[in-house]
Symmetry: C2
Subunit: 343 residues, 2 copies
């Protein structure tokens, strides 16, 4: 059954899809300005001049060219009761509700479909992960010591490109020494020293689908505390990879890893959730965290990324991308996870 | 006067700033999860664990660590009347309004400040444009014919990096032949042929500020219609560059160029607005288009990018980045605009 048909089964009224990733998921149309109105008997795709020629290739939709301000035009021309996606900015909600429409907020309908990947999606994710494996393998030959974090980040981009990545999933993180203790630090001007930990968080995109890997390397002999922390994070990830399966809650998945960290001397230092869904967006449903309200389903693709962060000293994170199965996982990330020394 | 002080002058009640670009503009803090509450006597910065260490460097704010769901936590803990930015997703608006707060929608307050650049911002934009000039100059030596659009896009990325770009402003457009007739086509797998027009739209980022240039090259002798269209677009851009000044409306600025196109045989084929503001975002206030409600001010930095698009045949766009002055413009884009042949 196709995506539109699966969505229709969940609709109580026509749904105006304004999240552009959801539009892309449902009909394959990728743009910066579009909306899709899904009714039981037809689908209308709205976009402006810049994309209208590309939109003619979209099958099974009635194409409507609008001005740039799509929502304003729809508010003036549509009638009746429709659902709208609650990710819509308040300002656009106000515009949409200002005309003759009776609008109903609807949350997560398309996102719930997107959370369970079909075979065509899994094929793209496998390809993105295979490219990432090759790229990380080649990264081991790159010079780290004495170079700026941003220079290593550029080498990573070059290697991804050479291995066939279509684009990059996000701005890469290269966090050396104390920079690594900030989970989302960018690659900056800091020169990488010897005997440091370096957190590398990167991914690529194939057909719109993203990989998202983290490995933490050393640049020479480390202190005992750093080696112990690496061991704890590796054990925490093993525990999570061994325990994740369909039916487990996002909170319980997170706890698999967090319990290991919290029973160690690094208690309380896993400062973020265990992971997140991965697909057309780098962060999507489901969430694996202490705040999650999700339950894992077969076909989810999620990151598994415990970490330990000691402010001003160092950070460690190990992150794989996995498919959730009824009885466990398929790990899409093949790159080694022992503590590797780079030069 | 600093940015917070200028914002305070415009506030009728405390403002909760949730647009992350606005947070960055006001206090220099760049993250994927933060909010700023600006009151007359204090400023509070909210963020989660992942960014808290970096946030300690932010001056003149009271730092508050929250869980990941910042808005939910604020709804539970704040009281009184506050303004919120109408770019807030409806879902978060609903959460924010669900607690003890009296919330008032406010539009464009920080965006209006951002639209007028100060000297530190102009310095970064000048640097981004200088790098872009050098990159386009070197692009003329790159092989086009027989290569895929995406290969040329990668060369462009490499050249930007070599010239000192910190990152890329957006996914580059390389639109050859008929692909160029789609104003926002991505660089794809199409092989570039001889005797074609190739639209190149690219930019880089320095200190968060973006350049955004378009040039259209030829790959050998063109048909008469393509040469005429190039001439019309060049004349349209000249007219706009010659007429733009503070006090002109966005509609009138757009008309300067559109009138030239519409008086030619290419009437009706300039399928988008003349330009947009440029700064921390690649599209920001003010707009120069038939739908604009803005009036240009001295200190605005805008793109000037007329084009002509003939579906299935070719596209042409020429785009400069300019500073609006009281009596005209300062053009930040120095790269040549005659019809250049690449090989």
């Amino acid at each position: 059954m196709n995506r539109i048909a699966r969505l229709r089964e969940r609709l109580e009224e026509p749904l105006l899809v304004t999240n552009l990733v959801n539009v892309r998921y449902l009909c394959g149309f990728d743009s910066s300005n579009a909306a899709l109105l899904v009714e039981q008997d037809r689908v209308r795709l709205f976009t402006d001049f810049r994309y209208i020629d590309a939109a003619r290739a979209v099958e099974d939709v009635d194409l409507v060219q609008t001005k740039r301000a799509i929502i304003g035009e729809l508010a003036e021309t549509l009638k009746g009761r429709i659902g709208f996606e609650t990710a819509l900015p308040f300002e656009q909600y106000r515009t949409l509700a200002s005309g003759g429409l009776d609008v109903v907020p609807r949350s997560g309908l398309v996102e719930a479909l997107r959370a369970v990947k079909d075979e065509s999606e899994l094929a793209l994710l496998r390809r993105a992960c295979a490219i990432t494996d090759l790229t990380y393998e080649r990264l081991l030959d790159v010079r780290f010591i004495g170079r700026r974090e941003r220079d290593v980040a550029w080498d990573l981009a070059r290697l991804f490109h050479e291995e066939g990545a279509e684009s990059f999933a996000f701005e890469f993180i290269v966090g050396s020494g104390p920079t690594g203790s900030r989970p989302h630090a960018r690659a900056g001007d800091r020169k990488i020293g010897t005997g440091e930990l370096v957190v590398i968080d990167a991914g690529c995109t194939v057909g719109g689908y993203s990989s998202d890997y983290t490995r933490t390397f050393s640049t020479g002999p480390l202190g005992e505390r750093e080696r112990e922390a690496y061991e704890v994070v590796a054990l925490a990830q093993d525990a999570a990879l061994g325990g994740i399966r369909a039916g487990l809650s996002g909170v319980d998945a997170d706890r698999l890893a967090r319990a290991i960290v919290d029973e160690s001397e690094f208690e309380g230092l896993m400062g973020h959730g265990l992971g997140h869904g991965l697909g057309l967006e780098v962060h999507e449903a489901p969430k694996l965290s202490t705040e999650s309200t999700d339950v894992l389903e077969a076909g989810n693709v999620v990151t598994v990324e415990p970490g330990v962060y000691i402010a001003g000293e160092f950070g460690i994170r190990i992150e794989d991308d996995v498919v959730v199965k009824e009885d466990g996982i398929e790990n899409l990330s093949g790159f080694r996870k022992d503590l590797v020394e780079v030069g």
